[in-house]
């Protein structure tokens, strides 16, 4: 008998956690090696947030009113900016088709990639948001709710965005991704900014934060499979 004979019967798929771990380790290692890219998106967030007072004037009351919305919209745009990088390199150099052919479940591999991507692009936004929130005169409890909301919301944005990024692989038009993904972002924006507004009125943001958590859970369950289907379509 030969060492290369295939096993008898249906082969068992290797563990999903192994697959996710493979993707996280590899992407994290690559991200750390090319450090130049890491800070760009955070700078974009800061710049966009700074643009708004320049556009509407420095009136503190107006900025306080606009603050939560602006900080959330800018986070959406910054998240959108980073999305193409999720799959584009792997698609171009042939890694993505190797991932599709791997015995590891593709949704697991993609979940790992999204996790590594969020650590590099979403988490910095969460950490920086309280600082930027100070520019809009938000109070301490509002800043806390802002950061918590972004902590729950930015992974959801990465997960939903991954589906859009996979659908638009290899296409030249960058704005198309925005058109596909931004409508899906609307609920996260509404609950996230609403949470800060609720904290401001003293009502407590429990309802909005719970809804954000629910959205995150739903995205965790559904998005990897949708993104895997989209990747399979793209490598066809």
């Amino acid at each position: 008998m030969t060492a290369t004979a295939a096993p008898v019967g249906r082969p068992a798929a290797p563990g999903a956690w192994h697959g996710a771990g493979w993707a996280v380790r590899r992407d994290a290692r690559i991200a750390l090696r090319s450090k130049a890219e890491l800070g760009v998106q955070l700078l974009f967030y800061a710049i966009v947030v700074t643009l708004v007072p320049l556009g509407v004037g420095p009136d503190p009351a107006l900025l306080r009113a606009l603050g939560p919305g602006v900080l959330w919209v800018a986070a959406l745009l910054a998240s959108l900016l980073a999305l193409p990088r999720l799959f584009a390199m792997d698609f171009a150099d042939g890694t993505l088709e190797q991932m599709a052919l791997s015995p590891y479940p593709l949704p697991a591999l993609i979940s790992g990639k999204i996790a590594a991507h969020w650590l590099a692009t979403g988490l910095p936004l969460v950490v920086a948001s309280p600082l930027l929130g100070l520019q809009f005169g938000l109070g301490a409890d509002e800043l806390l709710v802002l950061a918590l909301g972004l902590l729950l919301g930015t992974p959801t944005l990465s997960l939903l965005g991954a589906v859009g990024a996979a659908l638009t692989l290899g296409l030249r038009n960058g704005a198309l991704l925005a058109l596909l993904v931004l409508p899906l972002y609307v609920p996260v924006l509404i609950f996230g900014a609403g949470a800060v507004g609720a904290a401001r009125t003293g009502l407590g943001a429990a309802a909005e934060l719970s809804l954000l958590a629910a959205a995150l859970l739903a995205a965790l369950v559904g998005a990897p499979f949708a993104a895997a289907a989209a990747v399979r379509i793209a490598v066809d």
Partner: protein, 204 residues
């Protein structure tokens, strides 16, 4: 074990090829030749389970398989045009990563042996961006000895390889077939693969 019936593929609305039948049993090799644009890559991708065929069926051990079926994924090692190497990772890290993606042996000794086999011992710790095209191709082919699979599907494996590399490749293919493996190879060049179990398929 791998059988195709009446495979057809399209590019856009025009037909690339149609009516392709082949059958591979342990020890068989299929060498696919044809002009540029004749659909060699498409045929190999269909056989590997990456692409949908416009018509026809593919079956493994008599059971029809759809694209990306787990049965096919566990049986095939596909090395396409793209080397799937990351510029920022070293040759050894790249090889380890690709081997473990396919649940192959990614232990250091095995990696070093595989790289040494392809004469890349000294380039082991270099980032992939520092390697030449031929060297990158060798790193990609090195996983042939780390990931044991019955069916090898290789798309232009000899491209960018020097004479020694081509000889190594033919050697490995020969051993693989002798041990009961199967191979589908698309090539422009003359790969010295011959024998009663080697068949040619020309796509015009």
């Amino acid at each position: 074990m791998l059988e195709s019936k009446q495979l057809a593929a399209q590019r856009g609305a025009a037909t690339l090829f149609s009516g392709v039948d082949f059958k591979l049993t342990p020890g068989d090799a299929l060498v696919v030749t044809g002009a540029n644009g004749s659909g060699k890559t498409t045929l190999l991708r269909i056989a590997a389970g990456l692409s949908h065929a416009a018509q026809g069926t593919l079956s493994w051990r008599g059971v029809a398989v759809a694209p990306l079926d787990l049965v096919l994924r566990a049986a095939v090692l596909y090395i396409g045009h793209a080397a799937a190497l990351k510029d920022d990772l070293t040759a050894e890290e790249n090889l380890a990563s690709l081997a473990s993606l396919h649940a192959g042996k990614a232990v250091s000794e095995a990696l070093r042996d595989a790289l040494a086999l392809w004469l890349l011992d000294r380039q082991r710790a270099l980032p992939a961006r520092a390697l030449s095209m031929g060297q990158r191709r060798r790193v990609g082919l090195a996983r042939l000895s780390l990931v044991p699979r019955p069916l090898w599907i290789l798309d232009e494996p000899a491209a960018a390889l020097d004479a020694a590399g081509v000889a190594m490749l033919c050697d490995m293919l020969g051993t693989h077939l002798a041990q009961g493996g199967m191979a589908i190879v698309a090539t422009h060049q003359d790969i010295a693969l011959s024998g009663p179990t080697v068949r040619g398929l020309s796509l015009s």
